[in-house]
Subunit: 366 residues, 2 copies
Amino acid sequence: MSGLTSSANADSGRTVISVDAMGGDRGPAAVVAGISLSAKKNPDISFILHGPEDKLRRLVAKKRNLEGRVEFRDAPDVASMDAKPTQVMRQGKTTSMWSAIDSVRNGEASACVSCGNTGALMMLSVVRLRKLPGVNRPAIAVLWPSRNPQGFNIMLDVGADISADEKDLLQYALMGASYARNGMELTRPRVGLLNVGTEEFKGRPELKTAHDLIEKNAENANFDFVGFVEGTDIPGDKADVIVTDGFTGNVALKTGEGTASLIGARLREAFKYSPLSRLAALMAYTSLNRLNKRIDPRRVNGGVFLGLNGTVVKGHGSSDATGVSAAVKLATKLGQSGFSERLAARVASAVSLPQDDPTSTTDDNK
Amino acid sequence: MSGLTSSANADSGRTVISVDAMGGDRGPAAVVAGISLSAKKNPDISFILHGPEDKLRRLVAKKRNLEGRVEFRDAPDVASMDAKPTQVMRQGKTTSMWSAIDSVRNGEASACVSCGNTGALMMLSVVRLRKLPGVNRPAIAVLWPSRNPQGFNIMLDVGADISADEKDLLQYALMGASYARNGMELTRPRVGLLNVGTEEFKGRPELKTAHDLIEKNAENANFDFVGFVEGTDIPGDKADVIVTDGFTGNVALKTGEGTASLIGARLREAFKYSPLSRLAALMAYTSLNRLNKRIDPRRVNGGVFLGLNGTVVKGHGSSDATGVSAAVKLATKLGQSGFSERLAARVASAVSLPQDDPTSTTDDNK
C-alpha cells in the first residue's frame, strides 16, 4: 500500500471512486485511459485503483492529469472473465475485484466500478457489502436509450438472479423508482411491469399477483404504476422504469444490444456500397456522429447493483476508455447523491409498513 | 359465394392463398393493395379473399391486375384487434378470420394469411386445423434479420404460449429446423437454445434438461445443436434457429422491434439537424434506402404457426401493402414446398422413435 494516503484523498474534498483496474476484456490500460478521461472532465473525482501495483503505477505515470489523484491498492490476482463466481470467491482478497469492493465496504470510497465478470462481481458484492435489510434478491439495473425526455429508461433486473417472485418484483419497483429519482432527477417516476400483451387477460398468472402488489404500494412509495408494458416499451416513453425478472431482462438487454449492433454494421455497409455513397457518408459524418452519441451503448455504460449496502457499478466487459469513463461518471453521480443511503431508507420504509394501512412515508426524493 | 369457383382456381395451376381481408389495423384497402403487389410480382398465385363481399369487390375492381385471380367468401363480421380469443370463438364462422382458416381446412387453399388479432388467430387455427399428432404446444416462428449468409434467423416461440417444458422446446427445435430447411433451403440448420450466459453453469435449471434432450435428438433429426445462445445471438451468426418459450420470445421480438424503431427515429432526427445534414441525407438517400430494405421489418413480415395441420401466416397488425405482400410471399413459398406435410412427417418420426435407440430417419429436406 503506498501512494496517497486515504486521508489525503478525503482531505481533497473529492468524491473517491474505487476502480477494479483488472476487470474487462481490454486490460488495465483501457481502465487507466478511462479514469484519465473522467479526471479531465470532472475535477471533483479521485480514484483508488486496484491491481498489480507496479504495472498500474507505470500506466498512471503516463497520464499527467492523474497526478495526485490516484491511490493504489496492490492486488496481484485477477478474477477472470470466464471463472465461476465460486472460483473467484476462493481466490479471495488477493483479487483486484475483491479489493475494489472492500474500499466501499470500509468507507474509503463512495462507489466501486468494475468491468469484470458479472456473476463474480455480484457474488463478492453480496458477500462483502451484504444485502439491505428487507431485500431478498439484489438486482442489476441498466440505463436504456429511450424516447423519454430524459433520453433513457431504467430496466431491472438484467441478470443478477434468474427468477423473481412478486415480492422481489415489488422491491425492484421500489429500487428502480429510487434510482430514477437519484440518477435522473425524476420526482415521480412511472414504473411498468414487463409482460406479453398489455391486455389484462394475457401473460403469466404470477405476474398478475405482482401487478396488484406493485399497484397497491405505488402511491405510498411515490411513483406512478402504469401497469403492464411490452418489449416495445423498453425503449419507449410509456414508463421510466421497467421491472422484470433477471432472465427476461438479460435476454431483452442482449437482444437490444445485438439489434443495435447489427443495424450499425448494416449502416456502415450501406455507406460503403459505391463511390457516391462513400461521399454521402463523408457529408453525413457529423449527423452520423450525433446519432452515435445518442445511441452509443458505451455512453450509457454501467449496470448498477441495487439492494446492497454500497454502490457498485458494473461496466460492460468490452469497455474502452469511453465506456470506463461513463461508468465512473455514473458511480460519481450516485456516490455524491448519497443514493445508497436513500435507497436503504426507501426499502426499509416499504418493508416496515403494513401493506394495507400505510401510516407514514419516507421521501427519498430530497 | 360467387366470383370464380374453386375449381377455376385449381385449374389455373396457381398456388391459392386464403387471405383474411379484415385483419390488421389498416383495413381491407391495405390488404387488397398488398395482394395486388403480390399478384404483380408472382403470376403463379391466386387468392381467396374473406370479408364483406360487396366492399371487397369494389376494392378489388380498382386493381386491374387482380382480374380473374380473386375468389370471394362473404364474411360480414370482423375479429377485432382487442377482442379476447374466446369472444372471437363465439362470433364463429361469420368472421373473416374463421372463414380464411376454413379455406385451408377444406383444402381449397395452400396457406392462410391474416394480419388480425394473434391470440384469436392461434385459437381458431388450433380449433379448426387441429394440432399435429405429437405436438403439445403449437408455436409462432418469425424471421429475424441476422448476420448469417441467408440474412435471417428463425426464432420460436414468439408468443403462441407463455410457457414451454423441455419436450415442447424439443418440438420447437424440430419444427424450427424443418422450417429452416423448407423456408430457407438450409440442409443442416444450426439450432440454439436461448438462455442467459453461455457457460453451462448459468441459467435456469429446466433449460439444462431441455439442452440435453435436444442434443440427444439432433443427429437423428438432421440438425446441428450449438447449445445455449444469448440474446445477442438472435440477430447473430452462431445459430440459424433460436428456440425459446413464448414469453421470452415475445419480449425479445418486441424489444428488437422497439430498438430498431428508436434507432430509425434517431437516424431521421440526425439528418434533419441542420441544412448541411439535410443535404447529406439527400446524397445518402440511396444508401439509407438500401439499408432500409435490409432491416425493414415489413419485408420479413410474417409469423408462421407451426405444429398444425395446415400453414397459417400471421402478418404484423400494422402491415401496409408491402407487409401484406411479404406475408403472402412467405405463405406461397411454404404452400408450394408442401411444408405442412413435411413438418408433420418430421414431428411424427421424432415422436415414434425410441429416444435412445434411433433406428430410422425421415428426411424432410427433399
